[in-house]
Symmetry: C2
Subunit: 142 residues, 2 copies
């Protein structure tokens, strides 16, 4: 253990550094479309699931209303989505992707290959990493 510091620091710091490095890899692909990484995550949910409630977005992305409210407001201003308060339960707000928002999916395209290559890991290693992170995260599986 001649690392500069202990293992505990390393794993946590690595996650912290890796997360920031990953969003830095996404940035050049998203910025031309005016999206940040968290905004891109929201749009992915909309592309995949269609109209969703803010509540479910929060559960899926593990973000609270303090983060999502202004983020969704910005995406609405850009014309990528539309808010609509539910009629039967006026507490919940539905988020609908607009045509512009839907078109973004094809405009941005599939970043899978690009980003996977950028890590320099093999397919097997990516699968391992996926499994480990899945196990680490499932402590409170929503």
């Amino acid at each position: 253990m001649r690392e500069s510091t202990a293992l505990d620091r390393m794993i946590c710091f690595q996650l912290y550094a890796a997360s920031r490095a990953m969003t830095a890899l996404y940035r050049p692909h998203l910025e031309p479309h005016g999206l940040t990484y968290p905004q891109y995550l929201v749009m992915r949910v909309l592309w995949h699931d269609g109209p969703t409630t803010i509540r479910d977005l929060g559960r899926t992305l593990k973000l609270d209303s303090g983060t999502l409210s202004p983020l969704l407001k910005r995406l609405e201003t850009q014309g990528h989505l539309r808010r609509e308060r539910a009629t039967h339960d006026e507490r919940t707000v539905w988020i609908h992707p607009t045509d512009t928002g839907t078109r973004l999916q094809t405009d941005i395209g599939d970043l899978t290959q690009t980003l996977a290559c950028a890590t320099g890991l093999t397919t097997d290693e990516l699968t391992q990493l996926h499994t480990l992170l899945h196990r680490a995260l499932r402590k409170d599986p929503s």
Copy 2:
């Protein structure tokens, strides 16, 4: 591949979610001492390496001056460190831990066991994760 979305999203999102979950695990241990997780990282470097320059702190933590300047100012206000501009090269600023800052190390203690247990991973799995993240991060090894 019956995941809710594609693998690319999953690994990147997992890193993003895992990083936030990790700092959430640290928070209850650090907040009583008035530290945030990034502030704790800075203090760890000071505890381990002793006096450091802002430049080296940035290289070690991969953070720029826009992040470090106000962060260090807050740690200085709390009395945990002291800034001193170098005499031979007045561009660089040295960061010295104070006695209060040094005492924090024993006050906070070793969070390794606590945090490792919280992930629910075995020692082997933690080592695997460490190795994978190390490989993923070494693309531009400072």
